[in-house]
Subunit: 205 residues, 2 copies
């Protein structure tokens, strides 16, 4: 039997996943949770073979939980189960230690297949996720943002003007304009508003 834990902030989603996994006959559900903290705690206590983890958790970044779970229980393999799959987010999830990534829109059969594969030590990544991953890797620098740029982008998302951003960071308004220009170019955005929209879509902010 494969020992599986499920963490999703929506109990009914958890119910659905659990029901589908149980139906496969070779999976045992050892724990469920609804927050990033739950994920870390139950991973440390139960050491499940596979953790199915939603990224849209109520508390905060499910993406940050990946590393924490891996530290608490290194042998646990992590399958991300998310509704969204932006390049940046997919790439970050794997960098942090995820073993697979399944969209919520996929069928339950596929989810079972993925759990089976990763539990056996293999890797099974749905084609649409693989494509996103390839795209993220292929781009050398064009749309990868530097630390500073991400920082400024976050402030833009709060609707701060260039001058305000400069004051916040202790740099000139002119410099902010420079960085904003870089951000627009890298993201392919026409203006700051669109840059923020793209950033949200890709899960950067």
């Amino acid at each position: 039997m494969i020992r599986v834990a499920v963490v999703d902030d929506h109990p009914i989603v958890t119910d659905g996943v659990v029901a589908n996994l149980r139906a496969s006959g070779e999976i045992e559900i050892v724990a469920t949770g609804t927050s990033a903290d739950d994920a870390v705690v139950l991973a440390g206590a139960q050491h499940p073979d596979v953790l199915i983890l939603d990224l849209e958790l109520a508390g905060k970044n499910g993406i940050d939980a990946i590393r924490a779970v891996k530290e608490a229980s290194p042998q646990t393999r992590i399958v991300i189960f998310s509704a969204y799959a932006g390049e940046e987010r997919v790439a970050t999830a794997f960098e942090r230690g995820a073993d697979s990534y399944v969209l919520k829109g996929t069928s339950s059969d596929e989810l079972v297949a993925v759990v089976r594969a990763v539990a056996a030590g293999g890797t099974m990544i749905p084609p649409e996720i693989g494509a996103q991953l390839a795209r993220a890797v292929r781009q050398p620098r064009r749309d990868r943002l530097t630390e500073r740029e991400r920082e400024i982008l976050a402030l833009l998302a709060e609707a701060l003007a260039n001058r305000a951003v400069g004051e916040r960071l202790g740099i000139t308004e002119r410099t902010v304009k420079f960085h904003v220009g870089e951000i627009l170019g890298r993201l392919g955005a026409a203006n700051r508003a669109q840059a923020v929209a793209i950033a949200k879509a890709r899960g950067i902010v």
Copy 2:
């Protein structure tokens, strides 16, 4: 038996809901779907007693589907099943004809209770949703947006410039500026980018 249909763009969520409802013993699932179009079609074909409808549908606005479903099958009662519950979104859902609104974070028991209540012709609205509704009603007009304003706000979210919005809607750039000014005032935003951010946070777009 209460005849229920479920529409959610995530099949696994649908599975979970179906499993929980079936377990109650007095509910029969007559149809499931994954898009707003599905909702309208199956409502017209099956005329279920209750339709459980997710608002975050892949195709388009689930919120627009409410009215369409009510037209296709007036006797069908609609229970919104969403992960988010911003004031504007809750209020709009009920204006369009929703009969109840349940958060995805609530337990399956509560969902069953709500389905039972609305099927019996009653109304059962979870307290957190009722609170949002009260808050939305209390505000006279200050931060409520008109239909046109919502329309323009949606285009602003796509980072269109005033001129482009005007062309899209067949009105002058000047008129767009007028509406944008109104939107900023009502939302308390300093600029269009922040307006979009607030709109997203409240679930207006």
